[in-house]
Symmetry: C2
Subunit: 128 residues, 2 copies
DNA sequence: AGGCTTTCGTTAGTGATACTAATGAGCTCG
DNA sequence: CGAGCTCATTAGTATCACTAACGAAAGCCT
């Protein structure tokens, strides 16, 4: 329940952005791990290929990413971010969480440490 | 990010239920706090009245809750759960999180304690 | 080599959740 | 009483997820 609440607050707090959180997440993956196929993107975020196709369509049709054919496997399509995409990703990640920053600043050191530990646990629970 | 991941996993893990998590959440509020107006429900979950109207429409049109006019204020509409609604809420809350239970069982006592503390912090951060 | 199966990506259709904006109905207060 | 506020609803839009069906490419097996 607590997780749901934080997530909802998180989304509503920056629904104003040009892209939704799933789309931004894809750009983050592309920046961190380099060009990826649709399949690997959908595996990374535990989403069906159909859903991921929709998300990357938003990205490509708005110029945040481009499709590149894989030369070694004709079935595969690699997605890579454009400079516009990287820019949006960076600025969204930077100022989109200012609300969260200020909330976290009001915590004690001990509390921040609890959150830090909990983060690892939550990642583990989410399954990667 | 960790919160997003857990939330997505949580939703996908029981998307099979009859109702979505927002709708179940409303039923939980109604059970805990008694009949509520649309406004108070939307305030509790930090959602606009328009969104909440849609959610309660799902509940009422499927027989999980009913509308009751407030005798003291003609503008207000109280929502209360039906027995069917309470039943669905209870069973969903009970067995819908079996995945989460088993994940948590695999943690150590200390880790569970961290999560427990983090829960309170997250609730505070979510603002409610 | 030819055919069956698997993998990959896409599209179509649906559902849940959220938002804004506009509207109408009912209170409240000067 | 009338102006302005509150409450609920509706309409329209966007995101994010799902399943199902499809075509194209690759792999495997006889």
């Amino acid at each position: 329940m607590a997780v749901s609440r934080v997530y909802r607050r998180f989304r509503s707090e920056r629904a104003r952005g040009e892209l939704g959180d799933a789309a931004i997440g894809v750009l983050t993956q592309l920046r961190k791990k380099g060009p990826q196929t649709l399949k690997s993107l959908s595996d990374l975020t535990h989403v069906t290929p159909g859903s991921m196709s929709q998300t990357v369509n938003r990205l490509t049709s708005d110029g945040y990413a481009i499709r590149v054919s894989d030369p070694t496997d004709g079935r595969k399509v690699l997605f890579e971010p454009t400079s516009k995409g990287l820019e949006v990703e960076a600025s969204t990640m930077a100022q989109g969480v200012s609300w969260l920053d200020s909330e976290i600043e009001q915590l004690t050191d001990a509390e921040r440490d609890v959150l830090k530990q909990a983060t690892d646990l939550l990642k583990r629970i989410a399954g990667s």
